[in-house]
Symmetry: none
Subunit: 220 residues, 2 copies
């Protein structure tokens, strides 16, 4: 389920757009000003951004430039007038697409899907792909099949690269009802995950142990 970040000051339009993306099975997050945009991008790591060009204080073009300084996340710009489209075309800031207001929501969703389809081939997130449907993880399109708990564990660590989880936390968050299970079970799952990854040709260790603390997913 892809994450969409909507940067739009008009509350009604933001909700409308979010609603359509929900219907199309995306998860969304909304911020209402350009000032909050950068932080939101870093925090939520969206798969795609819908960005209004007309924002108070810091406008869409400024936002886009700032985002582009640290991320290649696809951006669809919402523009109001033809003049703005021309301006967009002129400036070659890194916008992936633009949609003119008043826009058709299905069209917006579809463009988002197209862009994501294209982007997914680009292996943006270091080549990692985590698919909860299949309970599989893939690196550079090589599927790695994990068991239920292996996946649960891997996924939790993967979602917050660099964050260290204690074995207690891992039991609590990834194993849910197995609170009375021994810590060593975690070690074994980690061992098995590493073996699976190695078999799939992943040479670097991505699930790191942190002595005395727990495990974490390697950052960068």
């Amino acid at each position: 389920m892809a994450k969409i970040l909507i940067i739009e000051d008009d509350v009604d339009i933001a909700k409308l757009v979010a609603g359509f993306f929900h219907a199309a099975n995306f998860s969304t997050h909304i911020v209402h000003s350009g000032g909050l945009a950068i932080q939101a991008v870093k925090e939520h790591q969206p798969d795609l951004i819908i960005l209004d060009i007309m924002l108070p204080v810091k406008d869409g073009i400024a936002c886009c430039t700032e985002i582009r300084a640290f991320s290649d996340v696809p951006i669809i710009m919402l523009t109001a007038k033809t003049a703005e489209q021309d301006r967009l075309a002129g400036l070659s800031i890194g916008v992936d697409d633009y949609v003119c207001k008043p826009f058709s929501a299905p069209e917006l969703v579809m463009r988002a899907q197209n862009i994501l389809k294209r982007a997914s081939g680009k292996l943006s997130n270091d080549g990692w792909k985590v698919n909860a449907d299949m309970q599989t993880v893939s690196l550079n399109n090589a599927d790695i099949s994990l068991t239920k708990y292996e996946f649960s564990l891997f996924n939790l660590l993967y979602q917050s690269p660099g964050r260290v989880y204690s074995r207690e936390q891992l039991l609590e968050f990834a194993f849910a009802d197995h609170r009375d299970t021994s810590d060593r079970a975690i070690d074994n799952h980690v061992k098995n995950i590493r073996k699976q990854l190695k078999n799939a040709g992943v040479s670097q260790v991505v699930v790191e142990s942190v002595y005395g603390l727990g495990y974490r997913f390697k950052k960068d």
Copy 2:
């Protein structure tokens, strides 16, 4: 640009649906009665049909059966009530998908896109062909006859390769009104499907079990 034929007596709904498909870059043609449907299909040769199940004089199911007599064009049925869905599941007329009213237009468009993507591949999906009329499945033109529930099960899994369905979901989606049936029934159907496929000379296991989760159709 794919052609959609919309068979729907309610003028407003027909226009609404047509509007959404236009926005998604399809061309559409509308007929408002079942009586005109057959001729329209022959004349316009649509790539996909949206068919309302509730039509005056000749209803959607009758239309579907008639269309299936001479064409394999994908059909999405619009149904109003759950009872109708059950009826659909029971009759296995050759409907490719159904959408329940009130439906989300983006969802309808998306399902259409998915079906068309699959249909355009013809034999691209490893030579598999699923014929809802005959309740047969064929691989490279070798027919495999399945019973009603075997087919229903196989077809559901086949439509979303790689997606894992839990036994609960399979009961809900493929068996419709048999919610109180035991999980083990699914296992037996799967066993029988696999036996049939094996008898037909399909060596690879295409209906995979995913330990702890359910079953899925093998992807690629």
